[in-house]
């Protein structure tokens, strides 16, 4: 589709990695290509999604929300997956790949902790060693997830460099991979990093969009008017969008982290304010200065607090196939509360950005338009932080 064999999406993507990791990246690509065409692998992956992750996830007709907003709303319930988010889809695929490659140890970066929890879960299940790298700031914001990872047998390493958030955790995971590349599999959590990662993660997340297509045809009789998902690195959005790229009448809409507003300078809105650069192994859009120094980013959501975006998103934006809008912290928190009260569903603060974007764009749709919002995860992890934001928990 939009990629070629060197992992290029238009000008974006590529494999800008140190020589120490190049062999491993080629080895991973080769193993992945073989696995993709091996029915034993794809069959086992499908079985794990079904029997362990609990897929297919529900496509839920949100009747009260539809009535309130004057548009037909479906929610893709990734929050109902085992471990509470879409992250498990990708992790199960990569863990099976790690087993197939004979690796003994999984490492991962994590922001909100959902990818770390999913990786720790897979490591526990498959009996692999597991080390997770997490920024100190995020360990404070998501302390419950730190304990969940430890409970699952993983070691969580605190990263204090830079802004002590997802980008620094990713840098540290890359360093650790180059220290122990021989027995270690790096489970990247989003559609980012050097080729073949953006492609692998997208392929393991496309189950979201594939299910939406089948469920919409079954429940609604036609494809949706629009799909809305939140985007940090962009894995749940890419998984949601990918199977619909060839359907020009389906709008693909993503919500990025507007933090305290673009003009405040405190945000993580890469598409709105980023420029082309090379970081973490990929060419894509980044928040950086005129000499390529990465600028500090901010979002209430630890999972979207990243200064870049996956290369395929940058490309979909360039060619006008997908649309990207930023949602502020305030708008996301308001949507977090709205969905809780309207549908009795507490979404992850990341997913609340997608809900907020639908509310903001409601005038662009009419009653008969069906819009699918991907709820990437559940909000239990965020309840305390939102309570504090609202001054209800001290």
């Amino acid at each position: 589709m939009s990629e070629n064999k060197n992992g290029r999406y238009g000008p974006y993507g590529g494999r800008y990695s140190g020589e120490t990791l190049m062999h491993a990246l080629h080895e991973l690509e080769k193993a992945y290509r073989e696995a993709q065409s091996d029915p034993a692998f794809t069959g086992e992956y499908a079985r794990f999604l079904r029997e362990y992750a609990g897929r297919p996830s529900l496509l839920y007709y949100a009747e009260r929300m539809s009535r309130d907003l004057g548009v037909t709303v479906y929610l893709k319930r990734e929050d109902l997956n085992h471990t509470g988010a879409h992250k498990i889809n990708n992790v199960l695929g990569q863990a099976l790949l790690a087993m197939r490659m004979g690796k003994k140890r999984l490492i991962a970066e994590t922001g909100a902790g959902q990818h770390g929890v999913a990786t720790a879960t897979a490591a526990a299940y498959f009996g692999l060693e597991c080390d997770v790298f997490m920024g100190k700031e995020d360990m404070i914001r998501q302390s419950l997830n730190v304990y969940r990872m430890e409970l699952l047998g993983a070691t969580v390493h605190e990263v204090t460099d830079g802004t002590a958030t997802l980008k620094d955790a990713t840098s540290e995971a890359l360093r650790e991979w180059s220290r122990r590349v021989e027995d270690t599999f790096y489970v990247i959590g989003s559609v980012v990093g050097p080729h073949p990662y953006p492609e692998i993660v997208r392929d393991f997340q496309r189950v979201i969009g594939d299910e939406i297509r089948a469920e919409m045809l079954e429940k609604h009789g036609r494809l949706p008017t629009a799909l809305i998902a939140c985007v940090g690195g962009g894995s749940n959005a890419m998984g949601t969008f990918y199977p619909f790229i060839g359907d020009p009448y389906v709008r693909l809409i993503a919500a990025e982290a507007g933090g305290e507003g673009i003009e405040s300078g405190r945000h993580a809105a890469t598409v709105a304010a980023g420029t082309i650069g090379v970081f973490h192994g990929m060419k894509s859009l980044f928040l950086q200065n005129d000499e390529g120094q990465i600028t500090p980013v901010y979002s209430i959501s630890a999972g979207m607090d990243y200064p870049g975006i996956g290369p395929e998103h940058a490309y979909l934006h360039d060619i006008g196939r997908a649309e990207y809008f930023s949602i502020t912290d305030d708008e996301a928190v308001e949507a977090f509360e709205y969905l809780s009260r309207t549908e009795g569903i507490i979404p992850a603060i990341e997913s609340a950005h997608a809900v907020a974007l639908l509310k903001k764009m409601r005038s662009e749709f009419c009653r008969d338009d069906a819009v699918v919002v991907t709820l990437s995860g559940r909000g239990d992890k965020d309840v305390e932080a939102i309570g504090r934001y609202r001054g209800r928990i001290h």
Partner: protein, 272 residues
Amino acid sequence: MQTENIIDITFRRLRAKGKKAFIPFVTAGDPNIRATERIVKEMIRNGADLIEIGVPYSDPSMDGPVIMRADRRALQSGTRMRDIFDMTERLSAGFPDTPFLLLLYYNSVFVYGIERFFSSAKKAGISGLIIPDLPPEERSEVQPTADAHGIYLISMVTPTSTERMSGICKEAKGFLYCVTSLGVTGVRKSYATSFREYFGALDSVSDIPKCAGFGISDPEQKRQLEQYCDGTIVGSAIERRIEEGIGKNVNEEQIAISVGKLVQEFTGGNKA
């Protein structure tokens, strides 16, 4: 007709004398750009054969803690690309026989603008660039511009390069940067790699000069490595010395002299 790159001239001269190259590394702007200029002069006076200048980066994902802290200090002191080019231009004018190399992340080149970067580097008298995150697979977007300006892109090999080695050696110009261990930059007490096997494999595919880097902390390690290769690169040990000076609050002059002494311990003070 381009003049010969002085990296080639330097290695030819060293080989003729049966000497090994010593290549110290320093982060530009740590603790400030004036200090770096003084430090580099001391390095050359104390026997450095080539100079590797690190361009500080906000997120050095391939470096260990010592270089990470050096980069942070350098950026805090306000170091910009322009300052680094200006400093190198003065240094290369003062030491026309010493090759100056920049070590930097690819984003520093790419965002600056590839053509603009290479013409500035040429004007500053820079002979080569070491860009660790620009592997052979991605070089084609830079190579023609580098060639047009007569600036070498220094190739790197690592113990994991295995079947990639001969391809990398074929493309290499100037010298081959041989990473001696896995992981990131930083001093190490011991190595897991068998140097005999590693350099033996490299020698069998190419006779380009080979310099060892990553983790060389003292003159004894340097001597051990020199049995197998044509030169050594020392970075973190120097940055650690600079950091000690900053910690003791001594002035720039004293830091430069202290680094000069460290370089002398490695070289014995003889410039080839």
